[in-house]
Structures are given as C-alpha cells and as structure tokens.
C-alpha cells in the first residue's frame, strides 16, 4: 500500500541532494506524502497531548479519592454530577470517577510504561546485539542462542509468568515488558551491525588504530540506530497493547493507578448490564493510540527501508 507512494517519487528524489534539500526535509516530504501516516501522526499527537496535559486539562483528579462522590458512580455519558459542578461527558465508572479524566490519566500510565520499557529494552538489546556482531564467534553464538530461545516463546506467556513471579505494580510490569522486548532489538541490532561492520568507514577506523570501544560506540552504533528506531516506534504500540492485556487479565498495574487496560477490565463486568461506556471509551482511546503509532511506524519502515527507492 505505502510502497506505491515511494514508487511514485521522481527518480533521484532519494539521492543526497543539492544544498537546500537536507536529509531531514527530504524525510519530512517523504513522510507527508502519505495521508494515512499523517492521520496516524495526528492521532499520536492528540493522544500524547491529552496524556501529558492531563493534570491541567482533565475535569477531575481521578486519584483524589476525597473528590469522588460515590452516588455519582456508573452514571451514563452526559449526566451532571450530583453537586452540579461537573458534567460527566463520558459518564462515570464503578468508583464514581469521571471517565474522561480517568482515561487521560490512564493514557499517561499506558504511554509511560510503553515508552520507558521500549527505551530500556532498546538500550539493552542494542548493547547485546552490537557486542554479538562485533566480537562474533562464541560470544555471538551464545548471545544469539539465548535470543532465539526467548523469541520462540510467545511474548504474552513470558510476561504472564514473570508477573506471576514478581507480583503486581507498575515497576513489575516494566521489568516484564523489558524482558520480553530486548531480544527483538538484540536481533535487529546484530543484523544491522553485521552489515555496517564490513563498510569502509569501520575499516578506516581500524586502520587508524582506534580502540575497539571507540569503533563500537562512536562509529558502529550511530549507523545502526535508524532501523532500530523504526522498530522501536512499533514496539511502543506492542508494549502498550501488552500492558493493557496484562492489566486486563488482572496481573498488571494496581487498581489505584489504572492504565487504560485496567479501566477496560473494570468496565468489563458492567458490560452485560448495558453500562457500555465504562469499557467502550477507554477501549476507543487505546485503539486510537495503537492505530496512530502503527500507522506512523508502518510508513516510517517504508520510507527508511533501503530497498524502497533509496
């Protein structure tokens, strides 16, 4: 679908350019050529802004139990609070939280967990992958065997078991997500580094007798990063989805700081009673975030893929 956009580009559009066309501008032009990806970017920005600005934008602080009025629980969308100061545009949940506020704060937890776990997993995976590619031999064989074995297990099972062992909490979820994700990055980093290792600049650096550490981190690493960053975008969506799933199953974040997944789980029990809004709205917010990130990531992959038009 998206490679059609890349095919339509004039020949040479991907070449290093005359002075005006910086790589960044070219990248932006490529990116904006696809309307679906732009739509995804808008979704991501809206969702991220709502999450980041939640303390200022949200009508209510859902963590402040003193502010919650138990008589306001499970009110349908659009009803007014019993003290008349607030309209619950998206209704309230079983604990009388305003759904809109709870969702904005929930999105904060979801995005935070997703982003932090991916950054840490990216760091660990890159170090492992680069080490394996650079040293080769036994180190490589051992590290990649570990990666293979880990990847042969479905992510959800690994995370479930880890959480069963570690217990609940935001930090525990982070550990589980990092443990699940590092292997993808390790494999991708190794693949990128194996290609880069053979290039002239690495050879040049070796001829200059630069220390290994310097070649590895100052020369190899920056050149391996672009494909990893693309994977990282999509992995943020995976991480958010996995966290939501774990929280939905009751093994993720605690009730006191509900993520979107936990909010959906809370609403699930009221679903059959016709109180659809408690699960539906956080569900839609989650879908918005995931679809947005995936649309952006999918297109990034097409643009940055050297096989397409580069």
């Amino acid at each position: 679908m998206t490679d059609a956009a890349a095919d339509n580009m004039p020949p040479g559009a991907g070449r290093a350019a005359p002075a005006v066309e910086t790589p960044w501008r070219r990248f932006m032009a490529d990116f904006c050529a696809n309307r679906l990806a732009l739509f995804g970017l808008v979704l991501v920005i809206v969702v991220a802004a709502a999450a980041l600005l939640a303390p200022w934008l949200a009508p209510q602080n859902p963590y402040d139990i003193a502010k919650l009025d138990i008589f306001d629980s499970k009110m349908p969308p659009g009803s007014a609070s019993s003290d008349g100061t607030l309209t619950y545009w998206l209704g309230t949940d079983g604990q009388a939280r305003d759904m809109l506020s709870a969702m904005m704060y929930g999105m904060r937890v979801s995005l935070l967990v997703g982003a932090v776990s991916v950054v840490v997993a990216l760091a660990i995976g890159t170090v492992v992958g680069l080490t394996a590619a650079f040293f080769g031999g036994r180190v490589d064989a051992f590290l990649m065997r570990c990666v293979d074995i880990q990847l042969s297990f479905p992510a959800i099972l690994v995370a479930l078991i880890l959480l069963a062992v570690l217990g609940q909490g935001v930090d525990k979820v982070l550990y589980a997500l990092i443990a699940v994700q590092w292997a993808y990055f390790a494999r991708a980093a190794r693949a990128a580094a194996l290609v880069e290792r053979e290039k002239e600049y690495v050879e040049a650096a070796r001829c200059l007798a630069l220390p290994r550490r310097r070649i590895l981190w100052r020369h190899l690493l920056p050149n391996c990063l672009p494909p990893l960053i693309v994977i990282a975008t999509v992995e943020v969506a995976h991480a958010i989805a996995l966290e939501a799933t774990l929280s939905f199953l009751g093994l993720g974040v605690p009730v006191t700081e509900p993520s979107l997944g936990k909010l959906i789980a809370n609403g699930f029990e009221f679903l059959m009673a016709g109180k659809y809004w408690i699960a539906l709205f956080p569900g839609l917010a989650l879908a918005m975030a995931l679809i947005g990130i995936n649309l952006v990531g999918d297109h990034l992959r097409d643009i940055l893929n050297p096989r397409n038009a580069r």
Binding site: P154, L162, A241, A244, M272, A279, L280, G283
Partner: protein, 332 residues
C-alpha cells in the same frame, strides 16, 4: 535428518529443564499458597496438616527435586485448589483450547489467503488498499480489545437495537459431544455458535498477518520465470493463479501458519478469559491468581514441550514441502 531431530530434541530437554527450574524457583519466592487456601478460622493443627500434605514444610531444593523426579513420569502433584492431579486438569482443559485454536487458525487461513492473494495480484486497486488498511487494524488492536468489541456488538448492542437479531453467546462452550473420549463442541449447532465469537477474535490478528504474508509472497512470485512461462504457454489466468502461484506461496504460508499455531494457543489465554472458555488458558490465569503452583508449572512444561515440538514439526514439514531445503545442511 535423524541427527537434526536428535539435536533439536536435546535442545528441547535443556530448555524445559531451565524453564521448570526458573519457574519453580520464581514461584516459590512469591506468596504463600497456604494463606490463600486455608480459612482464617482454621486451627494451627489444621494448618500444619495442610502444609505437610502439600509438602510445603520441606526445603526448596528438596521440593524441587521431588518435583523433577515426579515430572519425569508426568506427575506434577495435585492442584492446591481442585485437589486433582495437575496434569489431569491440564489434559481435561486441553481439547477446548486446541479446538478453539484450530478453528481460529482455519478461519484465518480461509479468509486471509484469498484476500492476501487479491491484494498481491492487484496491489494498486482501491480494494487492495482497503484490505491492507484493515489488516493494520487487525494486528495493532490487542486480542482482548477485539473480543470485548465483538461481545459489545453481537451479544449486547445488535440484539437490543434490531429486534429478532440473534444474541450470540459470549461465555462458555455450549453442549459438547464425546468423540474418542474428548469433549468437543464442533459437532453441535450450539457449540458452533459458542465458538464463533472467540474464534473470530483469535482469527483476526492471525488473519491480518496471513494477508500481509500472502500479499508479499504473491508479489514475489508473480515476476518469476515460471509464471511468465505459464503465461507464454497461454494458460488461463485461473490456472496460473490457482496452481502455479498458489503452490509456491503455500510454502511460507504453511510454515508461518504452523509457527503461529503456538502463538494462537498462547493468546488463547486472553480470549478464553474474556469468553469464559473452559480451556487451559483460563485454567492458567485462574491458577496464577490463586498461586496454584503445580498447575502453573504443569501448564508451562506442557506448553514448552508443545512449542518445541511444533517448531520441530514445522521444520520437518518445511523440508518435505520444499524439496530445495535440506535439513542436514543446517543441522551442523
């Protein structure tokens, strides 16, 4: 071939021993199942009796050795909760999960392959773009979300809005029929109705994957010489697509379908919880929440064994399907 199989089997044993030790060690450190199992009113003597019955009074390493010794003969101790042997419990719940996974995978292939081939044959058509966009939704939305929306739509909203719309069952398995001692629901109409929503939930993500894979494979095969030659011979488009293309894209699709079956069984954990499907995934979640150690460990050993075997079978099938691949060369 034989060397390859033996090597893989040995690797499987190592993986299983490491996994069981990790899980056993890990689960030991968490919580005390006794507090979950015995009511607060129980006397101290009763408590001690239960602890002794469960073998929890011995040191960890001894518990582990007992565990391994018994595991080798397929015994994982009794479930703390149900009082039945853990393995028996797993096997009781297994047919439901396998049935769900197979139906879901079949659905994914039956829908995914034609759509993917269409998208691959006419990559620039509007419909192909539509298919690809929907497939992005398919794998970006988590399984539990899809299940939830299907329940909302087919079990709550539609029957309410449109009078006479059949309310699809959203929990349980429906009546089962005993076939060779296995309880299966695919032989009753009610069973199929119960199977519909959970299977569709599981099938969506896998279907999206198969669409993308089929499209990529089709696009790769189309410019090949044998397709051009078939065209030059004047064969009908139907025969070219239905025989020459399909045969060659079947290899990657079969491989991925096989490997994904493991994923489907793992993700059945989520689907089963939403739809109260009495399979081993739901059993696992219930056991984790109640710290029912023997069942969790038995499930893991079974699933690891299953996944390793699945990988092995897929590798062997791969060489059977594609005579160009020889396992000896890779066996190292």
């Amino acid at each position: 071939m034989l060397v390859f199989i033996i090597r893989r089997l040995m690797q499987a044993v190592v993986v299983m021993v490491v996994m069981s030790a990790l899980v056993f060690g890990g689960i030991y450190l968490v919580g005390n199942p006794v507090t979950m199992l015995i009511s607060d009113q129980a006397s101290e003597a009763e408590r001690l009796a239960v602890i002794r019955d469960l073998g929890l009074d011995q040191p960890v390493w001894q518990q582990y050795l007992t565990f391994v010794g018994k595991a080798v003969v397929g015994e994982f101790g009794k479930s703390f909760r149900a009082g039945e042997p853990a393995m028996q419990l797993i096997f009781q719940h297994m047919p439901a999960t396998i049935e769900l996974a197979l139906v879901a995978m079949l659905l994914a292939v039956l829908v995914g392959v034609p759509l993917g081939m269409y998208a691959g044959l006419r990559p620039d058509s509007l419909r192909a773009r539509g298919i690809m966009t929907v497939s992005i939704l398919g794998f970006s939305l988590p399984t539990f979300w899809v299940g939830l929306m299907l329940i909302m739509l087919f079990a709550v909203a539609l029957p309410e809005w449109i009078p006479g719309w059949p309310r699809l069952p959203s929990s349980g398995r429906g009546p089962t029929v005993d076939i060779l001692g296995l309880k299966l629901s695919i032989f009753t109409a009610q069973g199929w109705l119960h199977l519909l929503l959970p299977a569709a939930t599981l099938a969506l993500a896998k279907g999206a994957l198969i669409i993308r894979l089929t499209r990529a494979a089709t696009r790769e095969v189309l410019p090949m010489d044998y397709v051009k030659f078939a065209r030059a011979k004047g064969l009908s488009e139907r025969r070219i697509v239905g025989v020459h293309v399909l045969k060659n894209i079947a290899i990657p699709i079969a491989t991925v379908t096989g490997l994904e079956l493991g994923q489907v069984i793992a993700f059945a954990v989520v689907t089963e919880t939403i739809f109260s499907w009495p399979g081993m995934g739901k059993l696992l979640i219930d056991s984790i929440l109640l710290l029912d150690r023997p069942v969790v460990v038995a499930y893991l050993v079974v699933i690891v064994f299953f996944l390793v075997m699945l990988n092995l079978v897929v590798d062997i099938l791969y060489s059977v399907l594609d005579p160009r691949v020889r396992l000896e060369a890779q066996g190292r």
